[in-house]
């Protein structure tokens, strides 16, 4: 405890005494703020980031359209927050663990998750790593160090603290970055995670995407404070607030946060100020709770356009390249979607595997009874029945081999 000063008047503080500034480098026109210095970001990396941002945007647009056409049951867009998510990811080591909330597909795109991999999850087909068990957008990749998404909010935050503690013990120089919304930060798990990370000196980056809303709830009804950042003081944790639409600032802040985390085994909180340009999800219609005018004002701050202007100014990018990229991405999305849609569902056995490392006797009994039942009514359970039909199975195997 560093309590030294005494006072003899009952003076109350509320922390408004100082406000937390926002770190910004890039202006919307693509030039730097006065006095700002761009971080070291070489040509190839800058373009990899930019391409990932555009690819995420295109994927989101196409998949929302697919959802609207009834081809997909559900979708969630990263739209508006690509710089926050991808800028942060690019500042990490590729082997660092990422634990995301659900709106961070950009991180996967940046790390090389293919459109095929996305589509397999979105359509829950037999190639989905998650075996068709979770709703669309619950991606995961072991090889890309991206923890499978879980719908309950904030549960991943203390898990990140634990994961990073394990990394510290392993001494492999890796850290964990956990993404979450300003809404999720209200959960008790947030408090637990940050406090434990500070006490146990854990190399974890808490990356809060403050996009102004938790579904319909504006952040003004989420907390009375100036955002999430001041909470760091309660844990004695390093904190920075950053313009989440500013790719350079996000990248620079996260790189420095990672340095603090890994070199000093200290957790860091980053609050990225941004805006969810799209609906909360394909089930949501934001016109019920916010104005078009507000949305428009934020659309003017588009993070992709901002980076594009910077790249064009540098001579690293052109209108033609943009057009070509967009077209090829759109085509690729449509092609992979068609492939994935046609793939059969996971086999019936996947209903009971992975509950435990081995199927228990009771689960085996339940599966056997289910198979008997489905054999009796195959038309009623087309998905389950197909994997009981040896001809279909053989056909599937052949089809797989052919690709």
């Amino acid at each position: 405890m560093t309590t030294t000063a005494d006072i003899h008047e009952p003076t109350f503080l509320a922390g408004d005494e100082f406000s937390i500034p926002t770190f910004r480098l890039l202006k919307q026109d693509g030039t730097l703020h006065e006095g700002a210095k761009a971080p070291d970001l070489e040509h190839d990396k800058a373009l990899a980031i930019y391409r990932a941002m555009v690819a995420t945007r295109v994927l989101d647009e196409r998949m929302l359209a697919a959802q609207r056409q009834g081809r997909l049951s559900f979708y969630m867009q990263c739209t508006g927050e690509e710089a926050a998510v991808i800028g942060a990811t690019a500042a990490l080591d590729d082997a660092d663990m990422i634990m995301a909330q659900y709106r961070e597909q950009g991180a996967l795109v940046y790390r090389g998750f293919t459109f095929d991999e996305f589509m397999n999850q979105l359509f829950g087909n037999e190639l989905d790593y998650g075996k068709g068990r979770q709703m669309p957008i619950h991606y995961g990749s072991r090889k890309l160090h991206y923890m499978t998404i879980s719908s309950p909010l904030a549960t991943q935050i203390p898990q990140a603290t634990g994961y990073a503690y394990g990394q510290k013990l392993a001494g492999d120089g890796q850290c964990t970055t956990v993404f979450f919304g300003e809404g999720a930060a209200s959960e008790g798990d947030f408090h637990a995670a940050l406090n434990m990370a500070a006490v146990h000196e854990v190399p974890v980056i808490f990356f809060c995407r403050n996009n102004g809303y938790a579904i319909s709830t504006p952040s003004i009804e989420q907390f009375a404070a100036d955002g999430v950042a001041p909470r760091a003081f309660g844990y004695r944790m390093h904190v920075i607030r950053v313009d989440g639409n500013d790719i350079l600032a996000v990248y620079a802040a996260t790189r420095e946060a990672r340095r603090i985390a890994v070199e000093h085994n200290k957790p860091v909180l980053i609050e990225a100020m941004s805006y969810r340009l799209a609906a909360h999800s394909s089930s949501d219609d934001p016109s019920g709770y916010r104005s078009k005018k507000e949305e428009e004002a934020w659309r003017e701050k588009d993070p992709i356009l901002r980076m594009q202007r910077w790249l064009i100014d540098l001579g690293w990018w052109s209108e033609e390249e943009e057009k070509a990229l967009q077209e090829s991405l759109r085509r690729e999305v449509l092609e992979t979607m068609k492939r994935a849609e046609k793939r059969p569902p996971p086999p019936l056995d996947s209903l009971v595997t992975d509950v435990y490392a081995d199927v228990t006797p009771e689960l085996q009994r339940q599966l056997d009874a289910l198979k008997t039942h489905i054999r009796q009514y195959p038309e009623a359970y087309p998905k389950g029945a197909r994997s009981l039909d040896p001809d279909v199975r053989a056909g599937d195997e052949a089809a797989k081999g052919g690709e």
Binding site: N125, M135, L153, S186, I215, L351, V355, K383
Partner: protein
């Protein structure tokens, strides 16, 4: 009589309760001006003001902690948990606090005014975090009441009774019926009894017991079974805690056979309790083993949801097996 879907019936019940008693408050995530993600609380903020119908921060343990305090103070909170799958962060507040409040204080204080509403159950392609049926956890918790309506009429009458019940009630709303179930619902105030099952169909050969959306599934199964000449008695439990053992036992005395169904996993599910209690009370009357038609002992799946669910075909097979035992 007007026709309402289940959401409208619930909204109507909340409106009546708030209109009649200033102490009734509705709150939860997105419950305020937006009216909830399913719109069960639509227009209540407009009508009764922000102080009585409002958004909370996104923290279920806080919502129920806050609601417990409010109820102890004498208010009548109706707290919404956005999905029953997200009730677990509040489990401590419910199981250790809500359920024990009156008992531990020797009735100095109670949270009887509290009602917790939560959409629950599967059938909407929601995967394991938008489909769970956690009723058995709460039905193992003395001090709570657990109520599940099967249609709009029941929803309104049971919700009004729950809000006014002197004990805390967890009110699970079968969300796949929210818009799908439509029926006649009186405009005026009425209540249906808590703790009483309802025999929705009389029969002589076998008793079927279920709650919530399973009643519809049971009805489809019964239609098939009756074509085979099997006479079915159907019981909607309506309240799981305290449950109406007498009604079920009476029916089984008559039919000698019992099939219980729920969506939740089999092991430890509430059908086990019913089977255990009924085999004890009706031992000499039972002509075949009590059957359970339930979800599998797995998390709730997505792509293979149809295969997982205890549908009418599985139920009719259980009925046949029971009768042909």
């Amino acid at each position: 009589m007007p026709t309402m879907n289940m959401l409208q019936a619930i909204n109507n019940a909340l409106d009546i309760a708030m209109g009649e008693d200033d102490k009734v408050l509705c709150f939860g995530e997105d419950v305020g001006s937006f009216g909830g993600v399913f719109r069960a609380t639509s227009h209540l903020q407009e009508k009764y003001g922000r102080a009585r119908c409002f958004n909370t921060p996104l923290v279920e343990q806080g919502i129920i902690g806050f609601a417990n305090g409010l109820a102890a103070q004498g208010s009548v909170p109706v707290a919404e948990i956005q999905f029953a799958d997200y009730i677990f962060p509040a489990f401590d507040q419910i199981v250790n606090e809500t359920a024990k409040f009156r008992y531990r204080s020797g009735d100095l204080f109670n949270v009887g005014g509290l009602t917790i509403r939560a959409p629950y159950g599967g059938g909407i392609a929601g995967g394991h975090y938008h489909s769970q049926s956690p009723e058995a956890y709460f039905a193992h918790t003395p001090g709570l009441k657990v109520v599940v309506p099967r249609d709009p009429y029941q929803a309104k009458g049971l919700l009004l009774a729950s809000i006014r019940d002197p004990d805390p009630v967890i009110f699970f709303e079968p969300k796949r019926l929210y818009r799908a179930a439509v029926g006649e619902v009186p405009e005026e105030d009425y209540q249906l009894p808590i703790g009483e099952a309802e025999v929705t169909k009389e029969g002589t050969d076998v008793t079927l017991v279920g709650w919530g959306a399973q009643l519809e599934v049971i009805d489809r199964a019964v239609e098939l079974a009756e074509k085979d000449g099997i006479s079915c008695e159907v019981i909607d439990l309506r309240t799981l805690l305290p449950w109406d053992q007498d009604s079920v036992a009476e029916s089984v005395f008559k039919t000698g056979r019992l099939v219980v169904t729920h969506e939740a996993p089999r092991t430890g599910g509430f059908a086990g309790e019913i089977a255990a209690a009924i085999q004890e009370r009706c031992f000499l009357y039972l002509e075949s083993p009590i059957a359970r038609v339930t979800g599998l002992d797995t998390p709730f799946p997505l792509t293979l949801e149809k295969e997982y669910l205890p549908d009418h075909l599985k139920i009719v097979e259980a009925i046949r097996a029971s009768v042909n035992f």
